[in-house]
């Protein structure tokens, strides 16, 4: 240091200190000016989320979040649940699910369905958000768009019950051959490819939503990519959509039932899938509901929040690879693994969320049977943890495969936190109980799908969510002709029962078929059921009427309202 005398040194230090203080003050002032300028500059390009409270009584507004950015809101292309939820607020199909999750009239006020086709009578006051009348032609056009091979819609298969739909989708027939016709502006006639028992449930699905031709063509291929390139017919319209940041819905003044939406605005002010960010936002009173993870449960109880749960309808399971060259084609090996694990332990000790049910069957508990729930009428056969039995089957498997030791098995899994835990858990369980060596193959979404498609796995952690409210949405999954049967399970008996369920009009006969399918799945150990997923969530005490559902738009705030 310098060779000042202490007094001299101190005076130097204090004078320099004062200068630094000035420098600091100047920096702070400068930074504030800079931030103002940047904020102004950024407001030129986009409108941000303004921090309002979760529940705004004066403006009758709810502030919420979206888990992900909707890839686009073109109903003929949409595939994901977030888009499904948003579309459910701003669009309406012929039929819809009401607040009690029952099928209710939507744009169609009456309908008749028989073996050959259906007739929908549209309500006269149904209008688009630009005030023009909504006609039967808009449905025909939307379905043609979805089936057009050029659109390459991944959900076009859901339209296949309509006559010629599949052929049109494959480019074998022109679009005009579709089995749907607008008799007049108010009447839509649908012809079926083959008899179908659940068509009313299908038309509530987003691919069946209407699209108006002149508007669609005016957007020049960007339909549904922005708030202004979409035409609405639901209880809300999107008045602002800042990509990746926020999405604002306002009440649609042209909607036919103005009393249905209770709040004036739904402000999806945040788009984040980060669990702690959403929880922190909820704690800060910035969003009106948040999903809980197992690790936040105690915290939620300490905060004294009201906690809710519901089953989101999907089932998760270990899917085996049944291709000939794979060891998992051996039934005894699959049985050994089935009896060596306990899905109850997975659910109660590992996933640890209330609302999860230990997996028993491919058919979740909420599916309707003949009179009551399907699973009550057709109880699923259960496999109790039984190590003796498991090891017995393992010995048989070794003999049949002619090996001393089962070669290492590849367990394919995705990269989300739950499948990480699950794969680590099963790796240890099968190693401890059967001495099996499982190799975890963790892949990002698209790589996992590619490997599932090419059969590059022995076991895969998979799941399935319902598209429509009928057991068939699960039952045909392992039919040999189903492309989603990634393990290539093939069983003519199984296919037979699927055909019965597809074409029969008789409820009892169909449910019996599903019962047979459930038994085959168990006997053949096609899968090892893991769990039925539940969602645990908290809501703002002043918000009521939020609807959660397994099939259809979820979460649904159309009926949500604010109490003071």
């Amino acid at each position: 240091m310098t060779k000042h005398t202490p007094a001299n040194q101190d005076s130097f230090t204090s004078s320099a200190g004062r200068q630094l203080l000035a420098f600091g003050a100047a920096s702070i002032a400068g930074v504030i000016v800079l931030m103002m300028a940047l904020s102004w500059a950024s407001s030129l390009t986009s409108t941000g989320s303004i921090s309002t409270d979760a529940v705004d009584v004066t403006n009758n507004t709810l502030t919420l979040f979206l888990r992900e950015e909707p890839p686009q809101l073109n109903s003929s292309l949409s595939t994901d649940t977030v888009s499904g939820s948003v579309l459910g607020h701003v669009m309406e199909g012929l039929l819809r699910y009401d607040e009690h999750n029952r099928l209710a009239p939507g744009i169609a006020e009456r309908w008749e369905i028989n073996e050959d086709g259906a007739l929908f009578h549209l309500r006269p006051d149904a209008r688009w958000s630009d005030g023009k009348s909504l006609t039967a032609h808009d449905f025909v056009f939307a379905w043609q768009v979805a089936l057009d091979p050029k659109t390459a819609s991944e959900y076009s298969f859901i339209l296949y019950p309509v006559k010629n739909a599949e052929a049109i989708n494959k480019g074998e027939l022109p679009l005009s051959d579709i089995g749907a016709r607008a008799i007049d502006d108010r009447t839509l006639e649908v012809t079926f490819e083959r008899p179908i028992a659940y068509f009313d449930k299908l038309v509530a699905f987003s691919t069946y939503y209407p699209i108006r031709q002149d508007f669609y063509e005016s957007t020049d291929g960007s339909y549904g990519s922005d708030a202004h390139t979409l035409l609405y017919n639901g209880p809300f319209v999107i008045s602002r959509w800042v990509h990746g940041a926020n999405l604002l819905m306002e009440k649609n003044p042209e909607y036919w039932d103005l009393d249905r939406a209770k709040v004036d605005k739904l402000d999806f002010a945040y788009i984040t899938s980060d669990a702690s960010a959403t929880l922190n936002l909820f704690k800060d009173d910035k969003i009106a509901y948040a999903t809980l993870q197992a690790e936040n449960l105690n915290n939620a109880m300490e905060q004294g929040w009201d906690i809710f749960r519901f089953m989101d309808g999907s089932v998760f399971y270990i899917e085996f690879n049944h291709r000939p060259e794979r060891p998992t084609r051996n039934l005894n090996l699959r049985k050994a693994m089935l009896y060596a694990q306990d899905s109850a332990e997975l659910v109660f000790k590992v996933t640890k969320l209330p609302g999860y049910l230990p997996g028993v069957s491919l058919f979740p508990v909420w599916l309707q049977g003949v009179n009551t729930f399907f699973r009550q009428e057709y109880p699923a056969p259960r496999a109790q943890l039984n190590l003796e039995k498991a090891r017995y089957h393992l010995e048989l498997a070794k003999q049949e495969l002619g090996v001393e030791e089962i070669p290492p098995l590849v367990l394919l899994t995705g990269d989300n936190p739950i499948s990480n835990i699950q794969s680590e858990y099963y790796q240890q369980i099968f190693s401890k109980n059967l001495g099996l060596d499982l190799k975890i193959d963790k892949q990002i979404f698209k790589q996992r799908l590619a490997k599932m498609l090419s059969g590059d796995f022995d076991l895969v952690l998979a799941g399935w969510g319902p598209d429509y409210d009928d057991p068939l949405t699960f039952a045909d999954l392992f039919a040999s002709f189903n492309l989603n049967n990634r393990g290539r399970y093939e069983n003519p008996e199984f296919d037979k029962w699927v055909r019965v369920a597809q074409s029969s009009q008789d409820v009892q006969e169909r449910m019996d078929a599903f019962g047979e399918i459930q038994q085959i799945l168990f006997d053949d150990v096609v899968i090892i059921p893991n769990y039925e997923r539940g969602i645990t969530y908290v809501t703002h005490p002043q918000m009521r009427g939020m609807v959660r559902r397994a099939v259809g738009p979820d979460p649904d705030f159309t009926n949500a309202y604010i109490v003071e």
Binding site: M301, F308, K352, G355, K442
Partner: protein, 460 residues
């Protein structure tokens, strides 16, 4: 030696041959090589010395640690999930769990009550049917519940008035729980509500106790004996795995990447840079242009890209792709540095002298150039280690790191961050180790820079 004799200029006989004078060479202190000198300086730097010991300690933790603490890092103990260090481990031995059909030995109940001793296996509740009830909800709280407070976790909804029992098995810990029963009528209006406090005790079955090595054989154990569950000095993680063992094994990944990646890419950089610097001219220019290209690649973006492009096969840890990606992306900065040094050294007198004496290129590089740049290289490596450790942690945080079940400090941090509020030990320990390592290598780097390179020496 010029000062030894100063004869006046004159005739040749005035010149006498200079004989070696050993006494003049007598040194007051032992001759120090460059490295010895550096070591002396490093030793006098307390901070660097402490960090050196820290680094050695970390290496010991990684290499020797698993030999002393031999717990299997992948062994799961689902009864001790996310336990903090020092948690109570006593457990009573009980019969194996048997499914329950709702039957109970004695029914005397007018109230919500227990049908069996509450254990962390299961809590069994029964209650009398409430008149007018169409469905029942069971809630569980960790705090006392009164009429107005929140009821806690909704465990189940039972439809109809037929089922009046419930078995709770969800993640039970040895503590007091408050169960609330709410009976609803057909319209969803509560007709009855009551709360029961339940003190859950930790139990273990004979089979589990023997299976986990808590007792030698089943004969030694009687039902209602008390055993102590396995000791976890630093607690357990979300699957009941021993944190200490995982930290040790995680250190292998983190330190392996942290140390080997910099060593490798610095090596590549040294070879490339010294070749370019030594050859010079057009080749040098071309080589450096290429290095410029690689430098321009956005590091983290390409790290992620390469990571998925290499792909991790089944059962692989994903360490190698990360290592390769780092080497591919990070060598140029070292090569630039080394090239600069070589260009400088090339002009030095001793190089020309050595050249004149017929030294070949390889000899020049190995004998003169690399040793003279060694100090700079070592300092570069030391400073590169913390950033490599950070990169690994960062990639693990965004889910692009090592594959499960391989632990690394970064992935452990990522898991721990989610439970930061309830079980902070799952975040604190790995984060602390990352911080200590990074700090130790940074300070060591400072010390080595001061010790090895006079030009780069800082004032402290």
């Amino acid at each position: 030696m010029a000062e030894s004799t100063t004869p006046a200029p004159g005739s040749p006989d005035q010149f006498t041959p200079l004989h070696s004078e050993r006494e003049i060479h007598a040194l007051t202190r032992p001759s120090l090589s460059y490295w010895q000198d550096a070591w002396v300086r490093l030793k006098s730097n307390t901070r660097a010395l402490i960090s050196l010991y820290l680094v050695l300690g970390l290496l010991a933790f990684t290499v020797i640690g698993p030999m002393i603490w031999t717990v299997d890092p992948s062994a799961q103990d689902v009864d001790q999930v996310s336990r903090p260090p020092g948690a109570d481990r006593a457990a009573r031995v009980v019969e194996p769990y048997k499914p329950w059909d709702g039957s109970v030995a004695v029914v005397d109940g007018e109230r919500l009550q227990l049908a069996d001793t509450p254990t962390n296996q299961a809590v069994r509740l029964i209650w009398p049917a409430a008149p007018g009830a169409e469905s029942y909800w069971i809630y569980r709280n960790i705090l006392p519940v009164d009429e107005n407070s929140a009821k806690g976790l909704p465990l189940i909804e039972l439809f109809g008035n037929g089922t009046t029992h419930f078995e709770d098995r969800l993640d039970l810990a040895p503590r007091i729980y408050y169960y609330t029963l709410v009976a609803l009528d057909g319209t969803g209006v509560p007709v009855h509500r009551e709360t029961l406090a339940v003190d859950v005790k930790r139990v273990v079955t004979v089979e589990e106790a023997v299976g986990r090595g808590l007792a030698d054989s089943a004969e030694d154990l009687l039902v209602s004996d008390v055993v102590h569950l396995a000791l976890h000095p630093l607690g357990t993680d979300y699957l009941g795995r021993d944190m200490l063992a995982r930290l040790m094994h995680g250190a292998r990944v983190s330190l392996f990447i942290g140390i080997f990646a910099p060593l490798l890419y610095v090596l590549v950089g040294v070879i490339y840079g010294s070749a370019a610097g030594f050859v010079g001219g057009q080749t040098d220019q071309a080589m450096m242009r290429f290095a410029d290209f690689v430098v321009a690649l956005p590091f983290l973006l390409f790290m992620i890209l390469f990571k998925i492009a290499f792909g991790i096969g089944p059962g692989e840890s994903g360490v190698m792709p990360m290592l390769v990606a780092m080497v591919v992306l990070l060598w140029p900065s070292t090569s630039r540095l080394v090239r600069g040094q070589i260009l400088q050294i090339r002009e030095e007198g001793y190089i020309s002298a050595s050249r004149l004496l017929g030294a070949r290129a390889g000899y020049l590089i190995l004998r003169h150039m690399i040793p003279n740049t060694m100090g700079v290289i070592l300092v570069t490596v030391t400073f590169a280690i913390p950033s490599a450790i950070f990169t690994e942690a960062f990639l693990s945080f965004i889910g692009m790191g090592v594959a499960p079940p391989t632990p690394s400090w970064g992935s452990m941090c990522n898991d721990g961050i989610k439970t930061m509020l309830t079980t902070p030990h799952e975040l604190i320990f790995p984060a602390l180790l990352i911080s200590i390592t990074v700090l130790a290598f940074n300070l060591l780097g400072d010390g080595m820079r001061d010790a090895l390179d006079a030009r780069m020496r800082s004032t402290e």
